[in-house]
Amino acid sequence: MGFVSSAIRRHPTLSLPFLAVLLLGCTGGETPSETPSQAAGVAVGPVEARPDRHALKVAEPRELRTRDGLLVISWSPVGGEVPVNEHFEADVTVRRAGASTADAPSNPLLEDAEVSMTCFMPAHGHGMLREPRTEHIGDGVYRVRGLLLHMGGEWSISISASIDGLASTADDAITL
C-alpha cells in the first residue's frame, strides 16, 4: 500500500476518507447508502461505458443584484446545467429592484433592456473564446446564445442590462 501512504502524505485531507474506505473494504463494513453487493465487497460494474459528462447543475435561476442596486437580474442555463467545454445557452430576466409586498412580490420583468453576458477566468487572465449574442425571446426573457466555458475552474460572470441608455451590471461566479 505504498501509494496509499504516499497519496495521503501529499493530500493530508484525503487521509480520513481513504482510511474509512480502506477500513470498510477490509472489514466488510456496511454503510446505509450502499447496495448489498457493494457492501459485500463485490466489485461494481460494468458501469456506463462513456466518460462521465462534466457539468454544473443549476436547478434554480441565480438571482443577482446589480452593482448599483437598481436591478435584479436572474440567469439560468437552458437545460439546467452549465457544461464544461460545450456550447450552451442561458436565459436572463431583468426587473427593477424594489421592496416586495404581498400584492406585488416583485416588479415586472423588463422587456426593453439590452442584455449582454460575459464570462472570465480571473486565475487564467482570459475569458471565453466566443462572443455570445442575446435575443429577447418574449415575455421578458433574454436568451444568450454562443456561450462556451472551455475549461474547468472558476469563472466570473458579468451580466449587464441597459435600460434607457443606462447600464447596470451584476456579477456572479461559478466553479466548473
Binding site: L24, G41, H54, R130, T175
Partner: protein, 476 residues
C-alpha cells in the same frame, strides 16, 4: 478544482471500496492477490488514487466513439475511407509527384515525421501535428484555420509550401488513374469530362489573397542577391498568378465541377483519417479497472504514473487545458513557448488562423458542406470579431494521447522530450511570457521525482501503435 455535483462521488467511492475490499480478500470477479503474495498483506492494488482523481479519471476514459461529421456525408463510408487511404499515400497529389500526406504523417512513425518543423515541397514554419482521434477535434491546424477534417485536408494540397498542387491537378490525377477513378466514381458518381484539356487545364486553382505563393515571392525578392532569375517580377501588384490565369480561363460550371471533385477528395481523406485512433492505453485499462472493480486492470497504472496523475489534475494543473478523454480542451492558449531557429518570430497563431478561417471557401457553413445549416456550425457562429479575443502566440492545445510517440513537442518543436516539456511548465525558466500568456502558468514546486512521475503518467497515455495493415500504404 471543485467537486462537481453529480453522483460520481458516491459511485467512485463504491468503486474504490470494491477494489480495496477485493484486495483484502473480499469475494468478487477480480483476480485475487498474486500467488506469491499472501491475501490480506500487501494488497495487489497498484494505484488507488484520491477521490478527486477517481472523479477526474472517470471523465477521461475511455475515448468515446468519434462523432460523425454531418458536414461530410461520406464521413463513415468504408468505400470513401478506402479511397481516402489511397489518396493519403499518393504522391500524385503534388506538384512534382514526390509529396503525399504520408510524407509528413508517416504511419510507421505514429503519423508524424519526427522533425521540429515540417518539410513539404519547402520548409514549413510549424511542427507536424499528430493525427490521433481527429474525429473529436473542433479545429484543425495549430492555429485552427480549418473547422472540419475534410476542409483541413484540402489546405496542404494547394499550399505552395506543402504539396504545391492545384485542384485541377487533383481532378486529373484521379481521372488518369483507372483504379482511383473507379473508386472515386463508386463513391461520388461520374467525374466531369476531364479528358477535354481545353476545358479542363492540367493545373489551375483560384489563388487566394493570402496565398503563400505571394509570401514566397517576397522572400525570393529579398533573397535574390545571387543574380539568378526567380521570376519575382511575376508576382506583384496587378499580376495574376499562372494558376489563377488558368482558372479564370475555365467556364464557371467547369470551375464548379473541379472544385466539387476537390471537395470530394477532402471528404474521402477525412473518412480515412478519422480511423486513426489512439485508445487502449494503460490509463484506459486503469480506468476500466476502476469501473469494474478489477484489481489487475487497476494495476495497469504503476505507482509513478499514478502519482503523476494526481499531480496532473492537482498541483501541476495540467488538466486545466488538457482535460477530457482526449486530454485537450480543443481550444487555444498562449503558454509562452520559446521561439526556435527557423520558426517565425512572433507567430500570430490563432489570431491569424481566425482570419484564414473566415477567408476559407470550405467552412462548415459553406455551400460545400453537406449540412451547412446544421448544429456543427455553432462553433463558428460566435467566434470573436477579428482582432479580438485572441492575442499573438495562441495555439491549439494538443491531445496528449500517444504523445510519447510524437516528439519533438509544441507548435514549433521547441522541446525534444517530454521531460523538457514538463520542466518547461514546472520551472517556466524558458517561457516567453507576454501580456496574453496564461496567468495560471507560474513556476511550480515540483521535485525531480514529481516531474518524472508526470512523464510516467504521460507515457501511460500511449495506445496501441497504428495498425499498418489497415492504415499504412496500400498495395494495389
Amino acid at each position: 478544482m471543485s467537486t462537481p455535483p453529480s453522483t460520481i462521488g458516491a459511485r467512485s467511492a463504491a468503486l474504490v471500496l470494491g477494489v480495496l475490499s477485493t484486495a483484502c480478500g473480499g469475494a468478487g470477479p477480480s483476480p485475487g492477490p498474486p500467488a506469491d503474495s499472501p491475501a490480506g498483506a500487501e494488497a495487489p492494488i497498484a494505484a488507488p488514487i484520491s477521490e478527486a482523481a477517481i472523479q477526474a479519471a472517470l471523465r477521461m476514459s475511455p475515448v468515446p466513439p468519434g462523432p460523425e461529421d454531418p458536414t461530410n456525408r461520406v464521413d463513415v463510408d468504408p468505400q470513401a475511407a478506402a479511397l481516402g487511404r489511397l489518396l493519403f499515400h499518393s504522391t500524385a497529389l503534388s506538384k512534382d509527384g514526390d509529396v503525399s500526406c504520408a510524407t509528413c504523417h508517416l504511419p510507421e512513425q505514429s503519423f508524424v515525421d519526427g522533425r521540429a518543423l515540417a518539410l513539404g515541397v519547402l520548409p514549413l514554419e510549424r511542427h507536424t501535428m499528430p493525427l490521433w482521434n481527429l474525429a473529436h477535434q473542433r479545429w484543425f491546424f495549430w492555429d485552427g484555420r480549418a473547422d472540419s477534417l475534410w476542409s483541413q485536408s484540402l489546405v496542404p494540397i494547394e499550399d505552395p509550401l506543402e504539396h504545391a498542387f492545384t485542384r485541377a491537378g487533383v481532378a486529373h490525377a484521379i481521372h488518369d488513374d483507372p483504379d482511383l477513378r473507379r473508386r472515386y466514381e463508386e463513391v461520388f458518381g461520374a467525374l466531369p469530362p476531364l479528358g477535354d484539356k481545353l476545358r479542363f487545364p492540367a493545373i489551375a486553382r483560384p489563388v487566394p489573397a493570402n496565398d503563400r505563393a505571394h509570401q514566397l515571392a517576397d522572400e525570393h525578392a529579398r533573397a535574390n542577391r545571387d543574380g539568378q532569375e526567380h521570376h519575382t517580377h511575376l508576382f506583384g501588384s496587378g499580376f495574376r498568378h499562372p494558376h489563377q490565369r488558368a482558372w479564370d480561363a475555365m467556364a464557371p460550371e467547369d470551375q464548379e465541377a473541379v472544385t466539387q471533385v476537390f471537395v470530394h477528395v477532402g471528404k474521402a481523406l477525412a473518412a480515412f483519417q478519422r480511423q486513426i485512433e489512439s485508445r487502449d492505453a494503460p490509463f484506459d485499462r486503469f480506468v476500466e479497472g476502476l469501473r469494474e472493480g478489477d484489481a489487475a486492470k487497476v494495476a495497469s497504472l504503476d505507482d509513478s504514473a499514478a502519482r503523476g496523475f494526481e499531480l496532473f489534475i492537482g498541483e501541476a494543473r495540467c488538466i486545466s487545458c488538457h482535460g477530457g478523454p482526449l486530454f485537450t480542451d480543443l481550444e487555444f492558449h498562449d503558454t509562452g513557448v520559446p521561439e526556435v531557429p527557423g520558426a517565425p518570430v512572433d507567430d500570430p497563431g490563432r489570431s491569424r488562423g481566425l482570419e484564414a478561417l473566415r477567408a476559407s471557401e470550405f467552412g462548415v457553413r459553406s455551400r460545400w458542406s453537406d449540412d451547412p445549416e446544421g448544429p456543427a456550425g455553432v462553433k463558428v457562429d460566435f467566434l470573436p470579431a477579428a482582432g479580438h479575443g485572441h492575442g499573438p502566440g495562441e495555439f491549439k492545445t494538443p491531445s496528449l494521447r500517444s504523445v510519447v510517440h510524437t516528439p519533438p513537442y509544441m507548435h514549433n518543436g521547441a522541446f525534444a522530450t517530454l521531460e523538457e516539456v514538463v520542466a518547461f511548465y514546472a520551472t517556466r525558466e524558458t517561457a516567453r511570457v507576454t501580456g496574453t500568456t496564461e496567468k495560471i502558468l507560474v513556476p511550480l514546486d515540483l521535485t525531480e521525482e514529481d516531474q518524472a512521475d508526470l512523464v510516467a503518467f504521460l507515457r501511460a497515455l500511449t495506445g496501441s501503435p497504428p495498425d499498418l495493415a489497415r492504415l499504412g500504404a496500400p498495395t494495389r
